[in-house]
């Protein structure tokens, strides 16, 4: 380690200037914050779905249309899609080898996450803003 005879310098010398300082913990921290959001929001959603009757359309729609349901649902979509973007990103970085394949997979992941979250938020907004009776 201390020798430094290897071409390209010491281990420290070779990594200097390559990594961005101060942002190293961003991914880790965001994953934890969204995880906490998921704990709260999914506890609520899971119990609500379990206690309700999901086969009754008007009841389900009326429930989603309530402001204090639609709003947490939108927060849940933001939290969970962000969280799983971070999780799948790590999976891709670990298992998809080769620069081209990895970049394609990461771009596809980003497209899916944004498109999926937008679809979900739009669906909730449409339900909430068009009322309980609109078809």
């Amino acid at each position: 380690m201390s020798g430094g005879q290897i071409k390209g310098g010491t281990s420290l010398g070779r990594v200097r200037g390559l990594g961005s300082a101060k942002h190293g913990s961003q991914h880790w921290l965001t994953q934890r914050i969204t995880a906490l959001g998921n704990v709260i929001l999914f506890s609520w959603l899971f119990v609500s779905l379990l206690l309700g009757d999901l086969t009754q359309y008007s009841a389900v729609r009326g429930w989603v249309a309530e402001p204090m349901v639609a709003l947490p649902l939108i927060l849940l979509i933001l939290s969970v899609f962000w969280h799983f973007k971070l999780g799948l990103q790590v999976l891709i970085e670990d298992y998809v080898h080769g620069d081209a394949a990895r970049i394609v997979a990461l771009v596809a992941l980003n497209f899916y996450v944004f498109a999926g979250a937008a679809y979900g938020i739009f669906a909730v907004a449409r339900i909430a803003l068009t009322g309980t009776t609109a078809a």
Binding site: K7, A35, I127
Partner: protein, 163 residues
């Protein structure tokens, strides 16, 4: 180059001795990825079906859960049992229910395992016996919670008329 060739490389899955800590780690990733891919699609499908109106929601139910009864049977002496009045389950209903059971398990596994990670983040729970114990508790409680939820759903379907 020279250095990289001589360095010890990390042993991989086949040379590790399986243990609860390792199982819970790989299950955390597997359940998380399952939820992210299958769970998110199911969730978006459900939301889109609600937004699309009653017909689209019924189409969703027909595929995933169960087809609606064809028509209200008004025959005298008809079986009052709601379960009997409904149509039988199709292949996709069975697949849908198996996926839902799987998602329920993945949800609890990832949830409990995630709570374990919050504890580990504080620096606690790394002693060998403690780590092993809580890894086992996570796996077992996820299975038990999944069983409890589906027994509850099953019990309501059989016991309650509304299903």
């Amino acid at each position: 180059m020279n250095m990289a060739g001589n360095r010890p490389i990390s042993p991989h899955l086949q040379v590790y001795k399986w243990g609860p800590h390792m199982l819970v780690s790989i299950l955390h990733r597997a359940s998380g990825d399952g939820l992210a891919i299958v769970g998110s699609l199911m969730f978006l499908w459900w939301l889109g079906a609600i937004a699309g109106g009653e017909a689209s929601y019924q189409a969703f139910l027909n595929i995933i859960w169960q087809a609606a009864p064809a028509a209200p049977v008004a025959a005298p002496g008809a079986v009052p049992d709601a379960v009997a009045a409904q149509t039988s389950l199709s292949v996709t209903n069975w697949i849908g229910r198996i996926i839902l059971v799987g998602l329920t398990w993945a949800f609890f596994q990832h949830f409990f395992s995630g709570l374990r990670h919050f504890v580990l983040d504080t620096g606690a729970g790394y002693a060998l016996k403690t780590n092993k114990l809580w890894s086992m508790i996570v796996v077992i409680s996820a299975l038990m919670a999944t069983a409890a939820v589906w027994l509850f759903i099953l019990g309501r379907a059989i016991g309650g008329a509304g299903a």
